[in-house]
Every structure is written in C-alpha cells, then in structure tokens.
Symmetry: C2
Subunit: 347 residues, 2 copies
C-alpha cells in the first residue's frame, strides 16, 4: 500500500469545504477540519481525516445535527454539564473546554461533562486547548464498546481514551494521551484492509479465545491494558465521561451503535486546573522542565536511541509533516477526493 | 510460611496503641490504625499493618513529625494546597480529603494537593471517604521511584497509584484502585523474603534485562503496565500529586529516599465531584447500578466463575475477614508483637 503526501493546509481546506458542503457553518467547519488535520500531523491517523467519511455520512443520515444549540444545562462555580444537541463532537468539545477553562481560571479547577455529543476526534486536541491559558487540561471520552470486563467475552466498555496536557516552556507540549485497550480499533481496521495479522495478545474472539486475525478481532474484543487494570480504567472513564454527563456508551451492541448515537449521543469529560493557584507559575514550569530534562538525560537500554517524553514523538512528526506533507493512506485520499469532487474542492 | 488469623478489632487496637506510644494523639492513632486494618481486611497487605514498623522507625528517627500543623497554604472556591508539615500521610490525607469534600459540595467539584506528607497507606481509603457524602472521590499519590521511562534503565517514577470511588446503592462500594507498575513493590519484597521467583515480564535489572529474581527486581525497575502507556500514566500522576503540590518524588535515588522524605516529604492529589449537581442523584446511582448489573450478567470466558466489578473482591474479603479474622504474615505478626510488648499492647 503506497501513501501520498498531502500538504497540511490543503488537507485542512479540503476537509473544511467538504464539511461546509454538508451544511456546517464555515467557522465550525474550519475548526473540525483543524482537529482532523492536527491528528494526521501528529500521526494519529485513526482520529484524523479518515474519519471525515463517517462524519459526512452521519450528517447526511441525520445522525448528526449540522446546526446544534450547544449550551450548558447545569452549571456552578466549578462545574458544568453541556448539552451537545447532537452536534459534531469537536464543536461540543470546543464549547465544553472553553467553559471549563473559564471556570478553572475563576475557581482554581473545574470539571465539565458533555452529553448528546458525537465522535470528537483525538482527546488530546482539547486537553491542549488548556495550555494556551497555562492550565493543566484533562479530556476523556466514551467510545463504542470494544473491551470485555475481566473474565467476560462481550465488548461492553469502550477503548476509552484519557489525555492530559501539562503547561511548560519546553520545545514541545507535554501530552499524555492513550486508550485503555492494547490496540487501537483503527489499527484493527487497517490490518483487516491490508490482510495483515495483528500481534498476539491484543485481541480475542467472542468466545474469549486469543486471535491474531483482525477481522475476528473487530467482531470480538480488544484486550484491556494489564487486563483488570485496563478494565478498571475504562470503567472509570465510562463513569466520568458517560454516566456523569448522562450519555453513557456502555453495553451498546454493535448493530445498535448508529441508533444509540442518533438517539442518545455520547459523552465526554473535561477538567482544567490552574497551577498558578497552587504555586507561582514559573515554579511549576521549572519543576516540569526539570522532570523532562532528567528523564531525557537518564541512562538508556541497549538499542534505545533516545528517551522520549509523552507527546514528544507526535510533536516532532508534526514539525516534519508541516514541511514535507502528511502521508495519507490511499483509501483516505480516495474518500476525500470523492467527497471533494461533490463540492468542487480538490485535494 | 504459615499465616496467623488476627481479629480486626484487636489488630486495630494494637496498631493504635503502638502509634500512641510513638507520641501520636489517640484520635489520630486510631485513624491511622483504621486505615492499616482496612487495607489488611481488603487483602491489600502491602499497605496494611506490615507498614507500621516503617512508620514507627520514621517517627523515632525524626523523619516523620508526630505533632504536625496540617493546614492549607493556598485555597480558593474549588482548590486547596495542604501542607502536611511532615505528619503521617493518613492524617494529611484525611485533612486534604475533608477540605476537598467541603469544597466540592459548594462548587460542584474540587481538587486538593498535599505537600510535605508521608506514606499514606492505600489510596482507595481516601477515595472511599467521598462516598459518605455521595461524591465521586479520586486519590493519587507519588511513591518511591520504581519505574523507568520507556527505553530507560533507571527507576525515575514511582509505582504511583490512582483510585476512584463511585457512589451507588450496591452491596459493595465501587472502587477502582491500581498502580501503574506490573507488580507491587510489596510483592517483590514478599517474594524476596520467601525465595520465590516473580512472574516473567514484570521487572528488569539496572541494565534493562528481564529478571524473575525479586532481589534483582528490587534493585532494578518494575515494568510499567503496557510499557509507554503506564509510563505516561505514572508521569501524569507525578505531575498532579507531586509537582502541582510542590512535593515531587521523581528521580530520587534509593539511598536518598530517607533524606528526601525527611526534608521535602511527598505529595498527594485528591479530587471530589458531586454527581447531584450534574443530574438528580438517584438518576446517577441508577445508571451505576445498571452498569454493574449488566456487567455481572454478561457472558463469561470458559473457566471464569464470575465477572467481578472493581472493588468487589476486596469488599467480599473484608466481610469474610471481619468474621474469620485477618491472615497476617508471620513477619508482620512478629513485628507487631515486638512493638506491642514495648507499650504493653498484646496482639
């Protein structure tokens, strides 16, 4: 499978025009397109422009609302519950994180849940929004069921991600961003499309038997990281991002996913903390810088060229790809070109 | 190695009297003794009464302050930074979580960091305090360095734990509580004492080679769960529980641990969220109950007798042990009897 190099600005423009053609207002379309392009720039293709096909389908089928009234249903000094009204998840995430940031600046810390939302792309994108205000940002979301509880065989819990961005003055933003399963669902799809096996130990069939066949894995379950620990962590995220906002995704069967998303939507969780309320900001940033420097300088295993901090590899990829273009899978390019032709946007 | 069955009330009384003999006021001694006994009741022996020997040593050597002035250094509507003043971690944790709970009831959610604290036992103990107020409780703490960053060989990050308790009306409190390493340091110590090997894949020597020798592992590193994901999670906890409060534990060498704890102490992180501000409390609890019921009733893998929820096994152990007594390792009983004799407290 060969990949094509696409210029980031061009990719973002094409995605935006495709979304505008699907009745999304230009400013909002630009924001969603930026979120997808940023994911591709950072190498998180599973949450990049390859998702646009699904977004457009859901907009056309009325699963996603192109003109939502996104607003707070409940709020107080340090919390809010945002109703996404069925809008694109990125727009719900933007509003929710903005509310969360404003409250954290007032109260020192704040939590916001979102309900009736849609797929919002990469969780880290919203955590990073907090850095512009020198806040710690945390994001979680529920995702379609892929993980079984320990001892179980059915996919009940999502491959739910947790992201946290940490303010600092380093060369790259420090960003922890990972999901609770041993492999990304997007990588199962990629392996299935390519006919390549997946590593042993990361997936099971519906009877609980280990499998290296990605097609079987897509119908079965992804093994939680560290088994019961990953099970505990995905349940924790389901509670904060799903139950607490009123849009759980827990236990929904595969064939019910479209109906569930249309009728109930999905939930997210956002948190922001202002380190400058705990200590002078330069002192906090210096402590972060010291941790980064000491980690990078520490002795390495044989064969390890470098010790990376969370988010460092992605930031480096982003720089490279801004210069050289983004390598996109042919299937993604084909989908974008097809959608682009319908609205006169060339990729 | 044979174990002895000790009545919970008797264990708690003995632990309290030993602490009182080390100049801890009775009410505080009772609270710390309760925390250790609860850990033993739940089967978390690594954070139970076996820790008392270390606590007493640190009190005697002036590493821990028997009469700390625990107070907030900074605070606002939804946050506080608590100074532990070198006191026992359980007392710092109690005060911090009480402050956090009070603020969360006012503001909807709150975060509290603690600095200059000591070992506080099991993280879940403080998360559970939130349940008495129908709040979600979250606790994290830094721990002595045991984990290397991905590609590194030196223990820079702690086997840091994350705990979250979830309000509900079930038969047992829902409690996610796990550490970021593949094996508990306490289990390395136990295996070393017994001369038994540890499972493959959980530890490395200081050159980065895999080991099943617990003595080598104690001098080396514990493998983070899911490698780079566990590394990311322990760094996240180090930032929130360590750097943000002003008492990191990152990068401290083994031989410097006592001096570091004496001079700088360690840090914790607490969060409480009031679900009743997001939706009517019965609605939240019903959603939790539905998740629990659907998980328990879901199909099982061959050989799996039951699907357990996080905290269920520990709650069941607690009930059994309240009736039948707590099985304590001979080394723990010997230590407690020796300390008990010094103050006329029989075990």
């Amino acid at each position: 499978m060969t990949t094509l190099l696409i210029e980031a600005a061009r990719l973002q423009e094409t995605c935006s025009r495709i979304l505008q053609h699907a009745a999304i207002p230009p400013v909002d379309a630009d924001f969603v397109a930026q979120s997808l392009t940023e994911a591709d720039l950072r190498g998180i293709h599973s949450h990049g422009s390859m998702r646009l096909g699904r977004y457009v389908r859901e907009l056309r089928e009325g699963i996603t609302n192109p003109s939502p009234q996104i607003r707070s249903l409940e709020e107080g000094p340090a919390f809010a519950r945002v109703d996404g009204d069925g809008g694109l998840g990125q727009l719900v995430g933007r509003e929710s994180m903005q509310v969360c940031i404003a409250k954290a600046r007032q109260a020192g810390s704040a939590t916001v849940t979102a309900c009736r939302s849609r797929h919002f792309g990469a969780a880290g994108f919203f955590a990073l929004m907090a850095l512009e205000h020198d806040l710690i940002g945390v994001t979680m979301t529920v995702a379609s069921p892929r993980l079984a509880p320990t001892g179980g065989t059915l996919p009940l819990f999502g491959n739910n991600p947790l992201a946290m961005a940490i303010p600092g003055d380093g060369e790259f933003p420090l960003l922890v961003d990972f999901a609770t399963g041993s492999i990304a669902a997007g990588n199962l799809e990629l392996a299935a499309a390519n006919g390549t096996p997946i590593p042993p130990g990361v997936a099971r069939d519906l009877e609980g038997n280990a499998t290296t066949d990605p097609k079987v894995a897509l119908q079965g379950t992804i093994v939680p990281i560290a088994e019961h620990k990953g099970y505990g962590l995905t349940l924790l995220i389901e509670v904060l991002a799903g139950l607490l906002g009123g849009s759980p995704y827990f236990g929904v069967e595969k064939k019910q996913v479209d109906a569930h998303v249309r009728e109930k939507g999905i939930g997210h969780f956002f948190m922001a903390i202002d380190p400058s309320r705990f200590m002078p900001l330069p002192q906090f940033k210096a402590a972060v810088a010291q941790m980064v420097a000491q980690t990078k300088a520490s002795p390495r295993m044989p064969g390890a060229k470098e010790i990376l901090l969370p988010g460092e590899l992605e930031a480096r990829r982003r720089q490279d790809r801004l210069r050289q273009g983004i390598p996109l899978a042919p299937s993604t390019v084909e989908m974008l070109r097809k959608l682009g032709r319908e609205c006169g946007a060339e990729l």
